[in-house]
Symmetry: C2
């Protein structure tokens, strides 16, 4: 693993895109939501998150805008997934399924994931 990091290496962009796939969010909200949903397992710090968001924006996978006025405190920069971002998300999602299934296959563990399209009940 990348040091003793709090993330599963390689999954950072997938996780961020996945959350944004459900609706626009600002940076801090993303990291909190990630922490909550993963049951404290993923603690993506600012130094990891913001470079990822900036990178995704440069690649045209998300777009950002500041929401002024109504929100108190420091102005928040919201991020919204683009059409290209959705395509990238779907690709990464499939890649994740493929790779995690392959790890499980090597570990020789009972299959986890219901094969999605094939007939196995279970």
């Amino acid at each position: 693993m990348a040091k003793k990091g709090a993330l599963l290496p390689g999954s950072a962009e997938l996780l961020v895109l996945s959350l944004l796939g459900e609706g626009e969010m600002y940076g801090y909200q993303i990291s909190e939501e990630l922490r909550r949903r993963s049951d404290e397992t993923f603690v993506m710090r600012a130094g990891t998150l913001y470079p990822i968001l900036h990178g995704l924006e440069q690649q045209g996978r998300v777009e950002s805008f500041e929401k002024e006025g109504d929100t108190p405190g420091r102005p928040r920069r919201y991020y919204r997934i683009t059409r290209a971002g959705r395509a990238a998300l779907e690709e990464r999602r499939q890649e994740w399924r493929r790779l995690s299934a392959a790890v499980n296959a090597v570990l020789g563990e009972a299959f986890a994931r219901a094969p999605l399209a094939e007939g196995g009940r279970c």
Copy 2:
């Protein structure tokens, strides 16, 4: 992901230890077995594998020996997991379960893995 790599980043040591947990093997055999079991998904090249094996040996998690005589061709260096290696394997295995479950939780996909110890039949 680490470049466009053929591995799921962070999983290399787990995969190697896991195979060695089933019996002693030599390097080339490990990479072939990995390729086979993962259905061509994981292609761990020599430049990745051998540094990992040497590292594991330095940490006392595997021990190696050359088998001479009976095998034709270049002599093979076999690797065997140690007691400490088994402990490390179990740790990494659990870590993998924890992290992959957390990714799936964030992705919001139906749960995959039968909870292993909790009452689910399946």
